[in-house]
Symmetry: C2
Subunit: 218 residues, 2 copies
Amino acid sequence: MGEVKVFRAWRSPFSWRVELALKIKGVDYEIVDEDLSNKSDQLIKYNPVHKKVPVLVHDGKPVVESLVILEYIDEVWTENSLLPSDPFDRAQARFWANFIDNKLFPLARKAIIGRGEDGEKAEEEFKEALKVFEKEIVGKELFNGSKIGYLEIVGLLVCYWIPILQEAVGKQVLTRDTFPGIYAWGDQLLAHSFLKENLPNWVDYLASYKARFAPSSS
Amino acid sequence: MGEVKVFRAWRSPFSWRVELALKIKGVDYEIVDEDLSNKSDQLIKYNPVHKKVPVLVHDGKPVVESLVILEYIDEVWTENSLLPSDPFDRAQARFWANFIDNKLFPLARKAIIGRGEDGEKAEEEFKEALKVFEKEIVGKELFNGSKIGYLEIVGLLVCYWIPILQEAVGKQVLTRDTFPGIYAWGDQLLAHSFLKENLPNWVDYLASYKARFAPSSS
């Protein structure tokens, strides 16, 4: 099926998505690690518009944006489907993936890293968005943590990346007490041996985020 | 194939997308016009997360977000494909549709409607984004205006809606002089009889935007 390369940054949760999907499909790939403070000419050539990781290069052709890459992977390597087969379920999965990326992710960053009035406003909005997420989709048949597909790969941002960012920064918004449904779903999802083996190690990953985001003591 | 309803607002370019796609597929549908200043209980029931049009209701089940709806329509009614068949071309189409919706659209609004320093900053960013769009995709084989599919339906935002907003507000940023490639593509696309028959009439549409956005003389 041609040569597959993944331009990634180890810390980028969007990069994991591509690697997890390729592993589910059993596709061999070469990793190209990017230094985001000094991006390679190749990365800029392959993603001239956003100049971001991840980029999947398949047979010399670049595909960019993690959600677009997941769809591409699912269409090219059709075994072990990532998206559900029913069109309505597929639409639901795409809708909630967009919600995670375009709503929860930017609000999480602002709420956890942000300071002052903007940070407080973002914290309220983030909690509201988490409530919607917990109420409308988490634990439902389509997204109950029992299997790993497209929406679960995207949802790892919520149950793995956000808790790490919170711990690194020292600010907890999404907690077990306030969002028990999200944690119950996340616990079940993260118990899969596939994820235990293939997600970045929690301790190392947290250390890298602490190095970047922990409040300075100086 | 079951009953199809489209909850729309006549002025919403995102609503047209759904109607154009259904017309390309030859699907009969019922229109439910929403008053966006007084949204119906049904709309809120069907789209509790964003409470926005368009919503496609098929056999009683709601699908929301125009790009998600286009994918749904293409999967349920498979004749007259909207997306290209090749996975790489499909990925390109999805990438540029996201670019139009998440980059060009918000910048266009800010640049054309915005005032003061924010408006000026948005104008520069909007021009940069238009340059990227014109250079990287407009006129290329995948997007040359010769046929009407997913990316063309989305791209009408650029060649039809933006010029109308500009004329209503009285501020021109995307012009024939500065972006001849975009206009050449748009002219070819808008010459299709299908679009002449099915897009909102320019004069009425402009009048509705003028009523909303024209600078007040009082």
